[in-house]
Symmetry: C2
Subunit: 478 residues, 2 copies
């Protein structure tokens, strides 16, 4: 209700002017880094540095307080010691801002009475002043499209379909940095910390209807109004996939949650029921969240759970089959005709053609025959989607090896559209610096062709299974 | 029984002369690569290239067949087409070799009658000739200490406490390459493929008593004599830890196993019982095997399951606690006195001191205070071992950040011996090329100080839990 009475979240995520309280010329100060982040990301509106001395920062005229700023201010970032925050919040009210993001920590998360009162006081001021608070104890919003930076961590305006709602600032950064390397692109990120005003439920509601967002990811430690959260989550999953990492489901984790954001973590049983009821997808780590979000970002919806697997290595083929079945996918035998055709182009010794196909491309199978293999598997009516896997280290010895790897990737990419079935790739490697460099190069090719890339067969199988799980719920599978 | 009658495995793993049948001047031939591998690894004994034309290879005098070789030959590597193999095996008998490693594939693994007969024929010849066969369809032995190379994949004579018995040649290479990057060092690797003569049970028996080996790892698709395998495995786990990845436990995986090495995979229920009965440790991927082997290679035995966790990040601390408890470890509250001391040196805001300790070293906690934190946690009687975790990306912005990361590592290393408790580290990173480079540098420091390094908190918790599980069985814990 408050959201409607006060400024809507769409305005909050799209400010046209930002002041950074605590922005000083000292590059070690958090306020400086927030301010520099806006410059680096070329924020499209006006920006104002605020510090006690009214010093200029990075060529921008400084002000001693918000009231001195000549133009209107939509969005305020506060990076000053906790006990100085209430004064600034009062200035926010006077100035008529739309939202204040409090980076500063030292509030209710400490569990100390006086600090909790401090937090209550600023919430009251904000309510009376008709503006919202994000935080305290958080990194705030990253909205790359308009250049709204989050602590200056990210310097790219490139954007994409994934949002992240995070109670933890560290997880917010880690998820985004790891995700960027793996090919995720973000609509918006928000770290909301103690969530004294706006919290996970508000953001979930906003992203449900945000046209820039196709996939909602969330890291949650605790929620305030369980009933409203469940209702909001149900509405969200009816519109788009929601992937949640719930922190603190164990006893020690719950204790850590209370030290971190002062939240009540809730029991594992309650959360299991919540996931079942709302159809949100539960993941157990940020890494798994990235894997699942990659599937939703890059794969079309498979028509069912039946995997066709093409790769190199007998042991790896066994692992591929085991991983898929453990994740609830199906690895059916190909049609007889498919196997007959595959036998003609697959070496007899030590390889399989029943599914998985062990196709030693480059060494014992030519690129044209590999291409035929892919087409045969993709067109088999027993198969709903493809998993392709290789080990990069096997293609590192000679320039010809590297060419074979590149050519096999290209053979897949030039046929992929005709398959009309989604494809995921697994690029194993030893993670030596050399192989990791090749991984990143190859990954770029795959992502450019709309194919997500996984580090292990288990990761791929888990992500695809969750992709299908969501679509089964939405009634799009079978 | 055969092992005792014929040459013992110790002789087989330590040949003084090797002939490579199929070694030709053509660098694309497998035989060439095996031969070059022996040169690169500076094999300490005599080596002879054998090819139909008797061509010299890489400066070594060539012979047309084994019989022509002037001196004795202990070990023969065979890399020629399957149908030519029986003739060479007869030559092996004539020459009086100790073992023949058949790289060539195209035998029983094809499931074809004539190919199975071919395999039976060579086994008979070997039995009559009083020598052993490794393979066919495999990579053979890597014994770095004496320079016995495996396909020339590895160029280092550096060795260590871990052996690997692998039915799959690909898994053999992948495990070793990945393991090397992560700091595993190997006593011996053996890939035995179809295992027509020597198989997993023989190697398990050998490594049980091999003084170079402290940790046995094995990838197994199928076994021949279940009763003997169980007996051998029980004897092995009574002496040293055995970590097994069993391929083909699902229906599709079992089918892939039959295509790969022609083995019968066996049901999941039977294998579960086998793991329970023998106390071998089951892992589900090569990556997990590396993680567990790292713990056994680098950590002393903790006295119990109680983890003390020191790291940076509130969300990461929650994940650390959740990961430990999910893996069956315990994260107890510290003693009151420890917490009181920690409170003095830990920032009040957004951090915890109860366990995990959220210690933002570098940004808000000085190196000396971080060092104090480590000492306080390590000396808490509630704690049996330490997990230390950081995110590398948080230390990449400035040279001072990098120095803080290095200094915090050194603070741990210079105190570790005094802790008298084992330590594991988790170095999270985005895996950008820059952060991965730093990961490898830092990892080197940690490994040098006897601390294994994990990529994620879950991996660390799982590995430590399995380390303790083995020692609990051996009666060394509590």
């Amino acid at each position: 209700m408050l959201i409607i009475e006060r400024h809507g979240l769409d305005e909050i995520f799209n400010p046209t002017s930002i002041a950074v309280v605590g922005a000083s010329p000292d590059p070690d100060k958090a306020g400086h880094q927030f301010f520099k982040g806006l410059i680096d990301l070329k924020f499209s509106g006006d920006i104002y540095p605020i510090n006690l001395e009214g010093n200029d920062v990075l060529g921008f005229k400084g002000y001693r307080n918000l009231r001195e700023v000549p133009g209107p201010v939509d969005y305020v970032i506060v990076a000053i010691p906790a006990h100085e925050v209430p004064k600034t919040i009062e200035d926010c009210a006077t100035k008529g801002v739309k939202v204040t993001h409090i980076f500063s920590s030292g509030f209710s998360e400490t569990g100390k009475d006086d600090r909790m009162k401090l937090e209550t006081r600023i919430v009251d001021t904000a309510k009376k002043g008709n503006f919202h608070i994000i935080g305290p104890n958080c990194m705030g919003i990253y909205h790359p499209k308009i250049g709204l930076s989050n602590f200056g961590i990210f310097t790219s305006k490139e954007n994409g379909p994934v949002c992240f709602i995070s109670q933890s600032g560290g997880n917010n950064g880690d998820f985004a940095r790891m995700g960027l390397v793996r090919g995720l692109r973000f609509s918006k990120l928000v770290s909301y910390g103690n969530g004294c005003d706006l919290d996970s439920t508000d953001f979930m509601e906003y992203f449900t209807w945000d046209p820039e967002t196709k996939v909602i990811c969330a890291y949650i430690e605790g929620i305030k109004d369980g009933r409203r959260f469940v209702k909001t989550l149900k509405e969200a999953t009816a519109v788009k996939p929601v992937i949640i990492l719930k922190g603190g489901l164990t006893e020690a984790g719950s204790r850590a949650v209370s030290s971190h954001t002062g939240s009540l973590a809730g029991s594992e049983g309650i959360w299991k029921a919540l996931f079942r009821q709302t159809k949100a997808l539960q993941v157990e780590s940020l890494g798994e969240m990235i894997d699942v979000a990659l599937a939703f970002s890059h794969m079309i919806c498979p028509k069912g759970r039946r995997a066709g697997i093409v790769g190199i290595g007998g042991g790896a083929s066994v692992a591929a089959a085991d991983s898929c079945e453990r994740a609830g996918l199906v690895v059916p035998r190909f049609m007889e005709d498919t196997m007959t055709q595959l036998e003609k182009i697959t070496p007899i010794a030590g390889t399989g053609v029943k599914n998985p196909v062990d196709s030693p491309v480059g060494s014992r199978v030519s690129i044209p025959d590999y291409e035929k293999t892919l087409k045969l598997v993709a067109s088999d009516p027993q198969i709903d989607f493809l998993i392709v896997h290789v080990t990069i280290d096997w293609y590192m010895r000679t320039p010809e090896d590297r060419k074979n790897l590149r050519d096999s990737t290209e053979a897949l990419l030039r046929n992929k559209e005709n398959f009309k079935k989604p494809v995921a790739a697994v690029l194993r490697s030893s993670h030596s610096l050399d192989t990791w460099k090749v991984f990143l190069e190859e990954q770029k090719q795959y992502l450019g062709g709309g194919i997500p890339v996984y580090l292990t067969l288990e990761d791929a199988a888990d992500a695809i299974s969750k992709l299908i799980q969501y679509h089964e719920f939405r009634g799009k599978v079978n």
